[in-house]
């Protein structure tokens, strides 16, 4: 019997299988950031051990950093302490840090791929659930807790039970105005916020193969929002073209050697998945969420479901509670509803392609007077590229606030918060209660849909605004 892509990589990294227990899984690359690493550093110090393979860990500061005046000392003392602690820990333990002020600094899931650190066939972990992003390169990548960060520090391994496998096949052409964010929001709405719990997902099919690496990363990024341990896509020419020449990518004959290995990374034709799902790309429309988990989403021109049509009592209560928090009514459409904030950023949608899409739409236009728009590039490199292409001018002309790289209003750890009771169309990944600030009401959508709302000031069907396909 053939093997799945997941099994090929997994089997290659199992150091030992504990009888009736998890496997000792070897980790090739470990990303860390300031929020989930300090306790792990403290842990190994208390045990009196050193980092087992410090060269395989890469650090950046992203979650907690300000997105303005990054050259000045951080004002928030607790944030400053955490970022300083990261600097001290990396220095003491020999870990490469791309901190504030470094040209490589940025959101951990943006910098890993753009520096070529993320490579096909690897096992990659980080104390952050959106580590699934790196799966877009055909890697097994997943989020871990701080105790597991400590395990990697101590042994370059984690203990993991092998998840089940699911393949989601997407075939066909996408409608105009529909982008990868819509694909993943559609899948999550279809199978729910817990629909893939216990599974590792492989995204496959002609539609997926036609997507750029940035678009693939957006899809893999949100795998966790349906409960999946991770998501992955088999590497192909798009992957190799993206990677070649990047800072950490292999060079010369090493590149050729790796390439022949990477080309074998796909699910065999007769591989069996525990679950398969088939999706017709044409049925996907621009999506928006209306609730307080990413599974509560719908086509932008649809109406919020009526609670009495939901049979499961728990789900019904969940919807009623979510709509109460969101200040929305069942049975209503969101089209035309005024919004007050637009956030374009996060590890889901802050890459150069996202910024290009937004720029193409807003070029020569102005944002609506009553809307505040924040655009936060995912990394210093993305910001640099955006500047080189003149995108920053387009955003400034449109009245957008352009910030510096960081996680920003995706989780509101720094000052970038959405005020209570106001609506924010956000390109981030979570619409949980209070996620973007206490009382903030988040509507998740694609960068195109977010940009459209920035201009019109209301929830807008992007298809009404564009003619050509993005």
């Amino acid at each position: 019997m053939g093997k799945t892509l997941f099994d090929k990589i997994w089997d290659q990294h199992v150091v030992e299988k504990i009888e009736n227990g998890p496997s000792v899984l070897y980790i090739d690359k470990h990303f860390i950031h300031e929020v989930t690493s300090p306790q792990a550093f403290k842990g190994i110090e208390q045990r009196g051990v050193t980092l087992f393979r410090p060269k395989q860990t890469i650090a950046t500061a992203d979650h907690n950093v300000p997105t303005i005046n990054q050259h000045l000392p951080i004002k928030d003392q607790l944030s400053k302490m955490q970022v300083d602690q990261l600097i001290e820990n990396c220095d003491k333990h020999g870990v490469e840090l791309y901190g504030l002020g470094h040209p490589y600094q940025g959101i951990v899931h943006v910098i890993g791929p753009e520096l070529g650190i993320t490579q096909p066939g690897m096992t990659i972990v980080c104390g952050d659930s959106h580590t699934s992003t790196h799966g877009a390169f055909g890697a097994i990548a997943f989020g871990i807790g701080t105790s597991e960060v400590e395990m990697v520090f101590a042994s370059q391994c984690v203990l993991q039970a092998k998840p089940k496998t699911m393949r989601i096949n997407i075939e066909g052409e996408l409608q105009s105005g529909v982008v990868s964010k819509d694909i993943i929001l559609y899948i999550i709405a279809k199978i729910s916020a817990s629909g893939a719990t216990g599974y590792f997902v492989e995204y496959a099919g002609a539609t997926i193969r036609s997507l750029s690496m940035e678009a693939r990363m957006t899809i893999c990024n949100m795998s966790i929002e349906m409960g999946a341990r991770g998501g992955m896509i088999a590497p192909d020419e798009n992957t190799f073209n993206y990677m070649q020449g990047r800072a950490y990518a292999p060079k010369g004959t090493l590149w050729d050697d790796q390439l022949s290995v990477w080309k074998k990374l796909y699910s065999d034709e007769d591989a069996i998945f525990d679950k398969e799902l088939n999706i017709d790309a044409w049925s996907i429309q621009p999506m928006i969420t209306y609730g307080t988990n990413p599974g509560l989403g719908m086509a932008i021109n649809a109406s919020i479901p009526l609670s009495d049509t939901i049979l499961d009592e728990g789900e019904r209560k969940n919807l009623i509670k979510a709509l109460q928090y969101m200040g929305l009514e069942e049975g209503k459409s969101l089209i035309g509803m005024p919004i007050q904030h637009v956030f374009i950023g996060s590890c889901t949608n802050s890459r150069i392609e996202d910024l290009r899409q937004v720029a193409a739409l807003v070029k020569g236009k102005k944002k609506h007077d009553l809307v505040k728009v924040m655009i936060v590039p995912g990394s210093q490199q993305v910001a640099k590229q955006a500047h080189a292409e003149g995108l920053d001018h387009i955003f400034a002309e449109a009245g957008f606030q352009i910030r510096q790289a960081g996680c920003s209003a995706c989780l509101g750890m720094n000052d970038d918060k959405i005020p209570a009771g106001t609506y924010c169309i956000s390109t981030s990944n979570r619409n949980f209660e209070g996620r973007q600030g206490a009382g903030a009401r988040t509507l998740l959508a694609s960068p195109l849909t977010a940009a459209a709302a920035a201009i019109t000031g209301v929830v807008t069907d992007i298809r009404e605004m564009i003619k050509e396909k993005f």
Partner: protein
């Protein structure tokens, strides 16, 4: 990690689904560099008005004296969202040693077990039975036997627990000590991998 063998206690019911880790511990409280003291901010925004700890919301279970105990009982898909282990730390620091639900998010489940908090997965029907108990009712959880019992009626269900994790929990062992003991094997593996 503290060993955990048995719990017999009242429970705190939170009959909501999809309780995410941002509700368990909002991101703004993740700025600490130690594992201590997160309990006071557990369910912070459900617990207090306007983020003010002198203004408890009367209708929230943690603010109601009739509910107490070492067991938290919650609706399905508990702990979804972020991988923050701070969620498990805040639950433990508050004084819960077990969380009972019909479904747990993966990362939370691992994080809980790594901190000596037992995630107990029960059937939907059993979960509803627990929610119907009076606030004075007690539950008994036996790690060795992998059972949970509603003491008043004697109704019982068994729950799954990985044998390796069970040994860790019963004895207070942690994974890091185990992995440190495997260093030679890991080094050998690295040589073969190259």
């Amino acid at each position: 990690m503290k060993a955990l063998q048995k719990i017999k206690s009242q429970f705190v019911p939170l009959p909501m689904e999809n309780i995410d880790t941002d509700q368990i511990i909002p991101a703004r409280f993740l700025k600490a560099t130690t594992r201590d003291g997160f309990g006071k901010n557990l369910f912070r925004d459900w617990r207090y008005e306007q983020d003010d700890s002198t203004k408890p919301k009367a209708d929230f279970v943690l603010n109601q004296a009739i509910y107490a105990g070492e067991i938290l009982v919650a609706g399905k898909n508990f702990g979804c969202g972020s991988s923050r282990e701070h969620a498990a730390w805040s639950i433990l620091d508050y004084g819960f040693y077990a969380v009972v639900s019909s479904f747990f998010a993966d990362i939370f489940k691992n994080n809980a077990l790594n901190n000596g908090v037992l995630p107990v997965t029960v059937s939907d029907a059993f979960l509803q039975k627990i929610f119907q108990q009076p606030s004075t009712a007690t539950l008994s959880i036996n790690v060795e036997e992998q059972t949970i019992t509603i003491d008043a009626s004697g109704e019982q269900e068994s729950f799954e627990l990985n044998p390796y994790k069970k040994t860790c929990l019963l004895n207070g062992y942690d994974d890091i000590d185990f992995l440190l003991s495997k260093k030679d094997t890991i080094e050998k593996f690295e040589k073969e991998l190259i």
